[in-house]
């Protein structure tokens, strides 16, 4: 069951149509919206017109390809757009999609009218989302990011790629008609000027649209990193107890002494802010870090209610029904008097919004909370996220990019118990006969040097 079932008629469907010149962060924003809505259990998908064009055989086009007078190429691009829109409409119908993002430049009014018409014919609400910028520093930064990660410039000399890309942009500039105060006054649209320095919101018609706009207003596209760490090994971890507000173990303190070096290794001299929960073990873990610190109540561990302070064995013995119910649907299961993963996701929303607004942040928090935050950045589905293994004494680095998030992990060489519990057992620790296929998500990642 979707938690935020949003509609003012029964089957509200929204199409977010991206508008803007190349290198304005459109793909980045589009990906982000998909991740955010999926995280809230709203079915969303991005349709990238560029991908369709590449699939049609125009893999590494040069700037001339994007000349609007190049009729042959224009035909190919038109076809790609048609294919993307056709697939999008099929997705609404067959998979009960709720929010689709049409990621393309859609720079001309003619093209936008064409999309508008198709949407209206299919009873889909179109919302135009324009990213407009005259900040050349930002554009160049985006270009350097794009040429590193865009499939269009695979294996091409960076300088050549940059020049070609600038040329490509100038082709678009010739035909670009930005959303207009007067001409487009009857459309539902959002215009982001230099990211969110100025935002214009016009004729928002539904709650769902307002929710997307709210989210986008919090985004920025300056480069930054997010580091995640669980607290160091706690006394309760050693005793195999869950929850509580215990101190760190001796090994946990060793991790806290090592953490400043690990962070330095990964972040260099960059400044960052540390966020911890209000529980002692995260604050002790962060106590040696020479940065500004904030404590968030919303980062506190999933509340295990009556089971707080018990071992899994005790829970299995005392509440066998609950123990089983939790294994069956860990995302929705709520401890008596406590919380479920879904509850945690809801209380984390302000954190996610603030995280989007900030630059470099290191979060020291707890297993369940970290799973939810990680799931947001990596688009992990909710059936899998509660089962991810996130080991103690490991620093995870996330780098948001236009086409996805890059992850690295740095292990501190400090031993710790495993707090991972597989499905169907009350024993903690990672066994060799692992029944849950998702738990290794982190372990398979490239590891940076110790």
């Amino acid at each position: 069951m979707a938690f935020y079932t949003v509609s003012n008629v029964e089957n509200l469907r929204v199409c977010v149509v991206m508008v803007g010149l190349p290198a304005r962060g459109k793909s980045f924003i589009a990906q982000k919206i998909v991740r955010y809505l999926s995280w809230l259990s709203i079915k969303a998908k991005c349709f990238n017109v560029g991908n369709y064009r590449r699939q049609s055989g125009s893999g590494h086009p040069n700037a001339e390809f994007f000349d609007f007078n190049n009729t042959e190429a224009f035909g190919i691009r038109q076809k790609a757009a048609e294919q993307a829109v056709a697939d999008m409409m099929a997705w609404y119908e067959r998979e009960n999609g709720v929010v689709a993002i049409l990621d393309g430049t859609n720079t001309t009014r003619e093209r936008r009218d064409w999309i508008l018409k198709i949407c209206r014919e299919h009873a889909i609400e179109p919302m135009f989302l324009e990213s407009w910028s005259d900040d050349m520093d930002m554009v160049l930064r985006n270009i350097s990011d794009v040429k590193k990660s865009s499939p269009d410039y695979e294996g091409i000399d960076p300088e050549v790629a940059t020049n070609d890309f600038l040329k490509r942009i100038s082709k678009y500039e010739k035909v670009y008609e930005p959303l207009d105060h007067e001409l487009d006054k009857n459309l539902t649209y959002v215009k982001l000027i230099n990211v969110a320095q100025e935002v214009i919101i016009n004729r928002i018609q539904t709650y769902l649209e307002s929710r997307v706009v709210f989210y986008v207003m919090n985004l920025h596209i300056r480069p930054r990193c997010i580091w995640l760490s669980r607290h160091g090994e706690s006394l309760y971890n050693v005793e195999k107890k869950i929850g509580g507000d215990s101190w760190l173990s001796e090994r946990g303190f060793r991790y806290s002494y090592k953490l400043p070096d690990l962070v330095k290794q990964s972040a260099g001299d960059a400044d960052l802010t540390v966020w911890t929960s209000t529980l002692i073990r995260t604050q002790q873990t962060a106590q040696e870090l020479p940065y500004k610190q904030l404590h968030w109540k919303a980062l506190d561990e999933l509340d295990a209610g009556v089971c707080d302070g018990m071992t899994y064995e005790e829970i299995e013995e005392k509440y066998p029904g609950d123990f089983k119910a939790r294994d069956e649907n860990k995302y929705e299961y709520r401890y008596p008097g406590g919380e479920s993963y879904r509850d945690v996701v809801i209380r984390l929303e302000p954190i996610i919004m603030e995280l989007e607004r900030q630059e470099n942040i290191l979060i020291v928090t707890h297993q369940a909370v970290l799973r939810c935050i990680y799931a947001y950045f990596m688009n992990v589905p909710q059936e899998e996220s509660p089962w991810m293994s996130i080991p103690l004494h490991t620093l995870i680095k996330l780098e948001p990019k236009a086409y996805g998030t890059k992850v690295t992990r740095i292990k501190a060489d400090v031993p710790a118990v495993s707090t991972y519990k597989e499905k169907g057992t009350s024993q903690v620790g990672e066994s060799t006969q692992d029944g849950t296929k998702f738990r290794n998500i982190l372990l398979n990642l490239p590891e940076s040097s110790k």
């Binding site: 005793e239 509580g244 209000t278 919004m353």
Partner: protein, 542 residues
Amino acid sequence: MSVFVSDDEGLMTEPIIRPGNHMARTGKRWSGSGQVRPIKQSNMDGVHESVEAEDYMSPGQLYSTESGRLFHAGRILIVLVGLPATSKTLLSVAITRYTRWLGVRTKSFHVSEYRRQMTDTVPDEYFSAVPQTKEGIEYRQKVMRIVHEDMVRFFNDTKGQLAVYDALNIRRSERKDIADKFSTMNIKVLFIESHMTDTKLVDRSIKMAAQSSDYYGLPKVEARAEYMKRLNLNKPLYESMSPEEGLSYVEYINFGQKLRIYNNHYGYLTNKIVFFLMNLREKKGCVYFARCGTSDKDNYLNDEELNEDGKKYSEILTDLVLNRINERRRKSHGARTPAARQISLTPQSSQSSLVPTQASIDRETYRGDHRVRQTPSWDGADEDSFVVWTAPRKRTYDTARFFQESGISVRQRSQLQQLNPGVVADMSDDQIRTEYPMEYSEWLKDPYHYRFPRAESYHDLAVRMEPLLLEMERMRGDILIIGHESTLRILYGYLMACTCTELPSLNFQRDKLIEISFSPFQNKADHIPIPPVDSYSSKWSL
């Protein structure tokens, strides 16, 4: 150089080492709840009640902190800007209602209220943003000083987090002074400038303002004239906000049709307020609450159909609500346009049982006329819309059956699914006390946040229903909501600004229809008796 600032922005103290192995969580999500506060009269709008109490707790709050501040948002002052009749009071009250619901300690400071409470006579000059006489200048300064002092006190002495300053603020110099004064106190200042280009909206605002308590007892025409005087006095003095002022501000155009946001870097809470403004609409209709009709067992587990009495009840309800709405609509037709006079004011039975309003008349008159912007007709788009929302249970949507037969849109809303009572479903108080004594005593301590095993708490329900609250804000016409008592409590609790101590004990009986009507300063709840089933003879063919 670590600065320890917690969510509540107090300094961190040394952790207390507890002896032995008792390291259980002590910080609860809800501090302070469980104390009994005097419950205000439940048909009073609580939006102007004090939030200064230590244990102030509101329905949609995600957690509580020692300082009473949330989301690391610090302290914020919202300054409204705009000529008279730009709905500033309505905006400030609506923002107060919503942010309080989120758990923020918010208070509106309406300069007009302060002025009304002053005992000495107000010089006419006072109403100008730039008075010319000495008397006018002094009086104005005096009022402003009192308001500013109260706002400072609110922030510094009573854990206030968000103040909304409702005054004209149409002069640049005034805005700069306020921004400077509060910024130095480490309070973030956000301006919201409301202006209207739509003449219809302006007319309506003037009409509403002329009904304010300032003109109590004056004939309509005179009240309007008085009011226009105030408006015209200030028009030439108005300096619109511009990015050059270097302030953070939101331009709020034609009641939310368009918003422009400049230099907003204040974080979650201000963005959340912009989000709310996207959903806020000017309400012309009412919200009605009613329970569903009776079924034989009337319990949680069975999804039963209505019994005979239940069916009769739904007929009575349909008549009552339609009459009520039609009566109000007839009254609103004072002077009618010549074109409109040709349209009958009695319901067109073939299509709808509702009396048309000005919006429906306009829609009919100008349909297909490309020179005129067409009046939209989706749910809640204008004053003439009437929609019935029901829970997704047989007996609730069956209760709406006669509305459907009268041509009214009926929507099943999944968010209206009642509170899941978990293991105590369909048990009486006595049964719960005997079978779950521990749980029962916990529940008594905090009926709002406590959850029986496998149940939802009211808090869970409130958080789950937030989208519906905002959709309710979007509806400009009438809505009837037929639902379980638990969901009605949440919706009513939001509209009437109840605290979470009050909310679980709100009472909705089957013999009362609740009508909430909206005015800029406060909402009003009326209880309208529903005639008993046995006194009623059917006019519908069942």
